[in-house]
Amino acid sequence: MIELVDLTKKFKDAYAVKNLNMFIEKGEIVGLLGPNGAGKSTAISMLSSLLDPTGGDVRYDNKSIIKSPSAFRKVVGMVPQEIALYEDLTAEENLRFFGRIYQLRGKELNRKIDEVLEQIGLTDRRKEVVKKYSGGMKRRLNIGVALLHDPEVIIMDEPTVGIDPQSRNYILETVKRFNEERKMTVLYTSHYMEEVEFLCDRIYIMDKGNLIASGTKEEIKRILSSENTISIKAERFSTDFIESIKNHPSVNRITVGEKEILIIVPRAVNMFSEVIRIAEQFHIELSSVDNKAPTLEDVFLHLTGRALRD
């Protein structure tokens, strides 16, 4: 349905996106993961025909969106990372303005406004100006605007940034519901791993403009099938202990927290006895040493050497 072929964007000497290849099938929820500055928003701007690529192409039903964006624009809804609304207008006025822009008129427009307000739970607050809304309500309206014209594809660029857990949950449930009820295709970018794990069928992981992994959640997690993640917990760690663990020949990656250290080691190595030995050597009182099931966060750590929200 949608294909990104060697999509590249270069700003001066730096690549924001380099040779990105992706595909999204009809009715899928696809996650695009990456830390800040990974190139997600640039990729989305090119995909949604807002930014001309330096190279490559984006195809919708085998037609180039870059050369002829009109057909795609009619079926796509965009939820930008920013609150792209008129704060001085009410929710209803915002929906009416954008509805008219989508060529909706008269009764059809009124029906769609009522429907969207119902879906995003703002029917009772429809007459209030947006600037009086909470962050979560603004985010919901930001999504609502993109739903007015019943898009086949919806692109959501970090739609839950900066909102309370309750609103975040509401948005995630709403996206899931739209996908299930309307077979809406969703491209969802986030740097919240749990959101992507909850929503997405398939995942693409980007870092520094490059695609570094892709597949279903299970496929991506299998990247760590030859490795184990071990959690070491204690009240405090000494520098010598941390250095000793870090320099151990079997430790591939290490993430140091205040009271927990995560290490990624080959599955074949029995690291438990080694950890206990080193703790005794540096007089560290361990509270636990566990083998953790790999998460997407672990995969990202494994692939990039950084946590997603770094």
Binding site: L50, P80, E82, D88, L89, F97, I101
Partner: protein
């Protein structure tokens, strides 16, 4: 689609009372303050110089005339006496002097106070008087004896001129000298039996007449400042719309509009029309205020609306240019600079605060190549009675100015993101 963009802009203005207050109420307040405070200076036909004169009469003039007539009635034949009586009653000197100072042409700048002789010392100490004219006792009686009978010496008035008021004192001195000359001429004519009406010197000749240099009708200070404040404040509409447009870009609303497959050029025209329409509305609202409050009526409504439309269009051009530049440089600084610096500069050059061009023709020429200055000249011409044809140059300039701005704005507007 365009109507949707314009309506949205209207709602945004409506929801920002502070901005609305600045755009609508501020010019009204400024017109009231400036128009009232500077009315004395600005009124055509009036003068910035005020001459305050105190006239002290030590004896009643009619009584002196009666005394003189009573004295001569036994010595002269009745028919001669009747002739003298008629002449005297027509030209009592102090009465004539009072008439000079209270003449219609002098009333705007001469204030004549009749002061009781007992207040003489008080008045002499009062620095607000330009001149104190004291008529001594028997002045008219002595003068009549001098004129009619050739007896006695010609009496004099006592004049005190305020040295601190050079111009005013000079004016009074000039008037009195001319009055004296006229009086002497009258005496000469009378003595030589010449009919004074043959070479009568009119009051106007004596005092001179204040006329406006411009032969066309003049306008009041309220009218001047109504125009000045309108053409200045309407420029702020361009800044406001420019900053609103940039906010649309920064918050990705513009992207949202583009993604809905609306051409960027539709948006561009929407900004242009919004600027034009709201500038037109603001102009009409403030001029309606000046009509209701100060009674400023436009003699030629077609010329008025043509000027308003042309000016509004140039403000629309400014709005779309500011929007395009702020999109291009990705900063709102250009609209802030325009509203804080450029508008003030244009207003000074255009004559919104002061008719600078009346004193410096170079500035008049510069002012006329600003949108507000050209509009101001056109509006003033209309109020002075000019027709649409007479203001054609200004209208053509405004339209060319607007078209130029639109073309530059179209070149600046980022095409890459709006290209289909």
């Amino acid at each position: 689609m365009l109507w949707n963009i314009i309506k949205k802009q209207g709602l945004i203005f409506f929801r920002n009372p502070q901005e609305l207050l600045l755009l609508i109420a501020l010019p009204m307040v400024l017109i009231t303050i400036l128009g009232t405070a500077l009315s004395g200076f600005m009124e055509a036909g009036s003068s910035p110089i005020t001459v305050k004169i105190a006239l002290i009469e030590n004896e009643s003039e009619p009584e002196q005339v009666d005394r003189f007539l009573h004295e001569i009635e036994k010595e002269l034949p009745p028919n001669v006496l009747v002739g003298i009586e008629e002449n005297i009653n027509q030209s009592m000197p102090i009465t004539a002097l009072k008439e000079v100072f209270t003449d219609e042409s002098m009333k705007d700048f001469v204030e004549l106070d009749y002061v009781n002789p007992s207040d003489r010392d008080k008045v002499l100490k009062d620095n607000t008087y330009t001149s104190i004219i004291e008529v001594p006792k028997n002045f008219t009686y002595e003068l009549l004896k001098y004129i009619v009978l050739g007896e006695s010496e010609q009496p004099s008035l006592k004049i005190n001129l305020n040295e601190g008021s050079h111009v005013g004192a000079g004016i009074v001195n000039n008037i009195l000298t001319q009055f004296q000359d006229q009086l002497s001429l009258g005496v000469f004519l009378d003595k030589n039996g010449i009919d004074p009406s043959v070479i009568a010197v009119s009051n106007e000749t004596v005092v001179g007449k204040m006329t406006t240099i411009d032969e066309k009708g003049s306008i009041s200070s309220q009218a001047y400042y109504s125009i000045g404040m309108v053409v200045m404040n309407v420029l702020y509409i361009a800044g406001s719309i420019g900053s609103h447009a940039f906010r649309e870009k920064r918050s990705n609303v513009f992207d949202r509009i583009i993604i809905s497959d609306v051409s960027g050029w539709v948006y561009f025209i929407g900004v242009l029309l919004s600027g034009t329409i709201f500038a037109f509305m603001q102009t009409i609202i403030v001029f309606t205020f000046s009509w209701l409050v100060f009674g400023i009526v436009w003699p030629d409504l077609i010329a008025f609306f043509a000027t308003t439309l042309a000016f509004s269009f140039s403000v629309g051009g400014l709005a779309v240019l500011l929007s395009a530049i702020s999109y291009r440089i990705n900063s709102v600084s250009i609209t802030s600079f325009f509203s804080s610096v450029v508008v003030t500069l244009l207003s000074v050059l255009g004559g919104s605060f002061f008719p600078i061009g009346d004193f410096l023709p170079f500035f008049q020429a510069i002012g006329n190549i600003t949108p507000n200055g050209a509009s101001m000249s056109a509006y003033i011409s209309i109020l002075r009675g000019d027709s649409l044809l007479d203001i054609g140059d200004h209208l053509i300039f405004l339209l060319l100015f607007a078209f130029s701005l639109v073309i530059v704005a179209a070149l600046c507007f980022p095409k890459r993101r709006i290209s289909k």
